[in-house]
Subunit: 155 residues, 2 copies
């Protein structure tokens, strides 16, 4: 299915999904976090068709999430950029949600650890500006328009 | 494109994407966070074809992310379950990443606020077990197998 492009939407969720809201994209990024850099290794780890992988990797380079590093005459290596590394929060949020809700049986195979001590990190937290930890019921999404009207109505 | 199912994968990212890794799914969930509950409203907000929307909503109910509430003879209302509300961390992570990297021009239309004071919340944080704030370079993904071998090698 071909989607309409969301690249110019002002909602950051729409715009984000336009770049990363595709199954293979985030799995490729996950493999890059595991340290995979070569085409053949992405292919064997993910069991993905060569043509699809080639297209996805090309797009990820174009989007500035991976960069091609082929110095020294070796085969091309795909490495996460800073923009790419920042996706770790997205992967973490998905992993945390799925570990909580989708493992009625079995155990998650992925551990997210602090590089320093290899200990599992604490769950993602959301805090208010004054440092209070917020649960999912304490948070609200407000659209730009609504926010203006809410602010006006409390003036 | 039809994907192979990832429902039984032990990687929580794979398993999570199997449920939420589809563009429309997370946009429907976003609308639910904005307070949309009716089929017609999802349709007009998202500009999505009726048959696709019907299929996605049905799947979201089946997956326990939305629940159908049609008491009182009114039309069906779709409301987020606790499992659904927990997706706010995923939406937040996407929104935060996209707001940082995909808005070279324009401003994000979505504000994530503390319900209590309607003030924008602080960015998502990742902390080590002892409370240190971790940047994306301080975090590592370890696969179950690798973790065992790393632990053994440091024994």
């Amino acid at each position: 299915m071909k989607h309409k492009s969301l690249a110019q939407e002002t909602c950051p969720i729409s715009r984000g999904l336009n770049v990363i809201g595709e199954w293979w994209t985030l799995l490729i990024v996950r493999e890059a976090f595991y340290g995979v850099t070569k085409f053949a290794d992405f292919q064997s780890k993910l069991g993905i068709a060569k043509n699809i992988l080639a297209a996805r990797l090309k797009q990820l380079v174009k989007d500035g999430i991976l960069q091609l590093d082929n110095k020294g005459g070796k085969r091309s290596q795909y490495v996460l950029t800073e923009k790419g590394r920042d996706l770790i929060y997205v992967l973490l949020a998905i992993s945390q949600w799925a570990s909580k809700w989708l493992f009625t049986s079995g155990r998650p195979s992925l551990h997210t650890v602090d590089k320093q001590d290899l200990l599992e990190i604490a769950p993602l937290e959301v805090r208010s500006r004054n440092g209070r930890i917020l649960g999912s019921n304490d948070i609200e999404f407000l659209h730009e328009d609504k926010r203006s009207s809410k602010n006006q109505s409390t003036d």
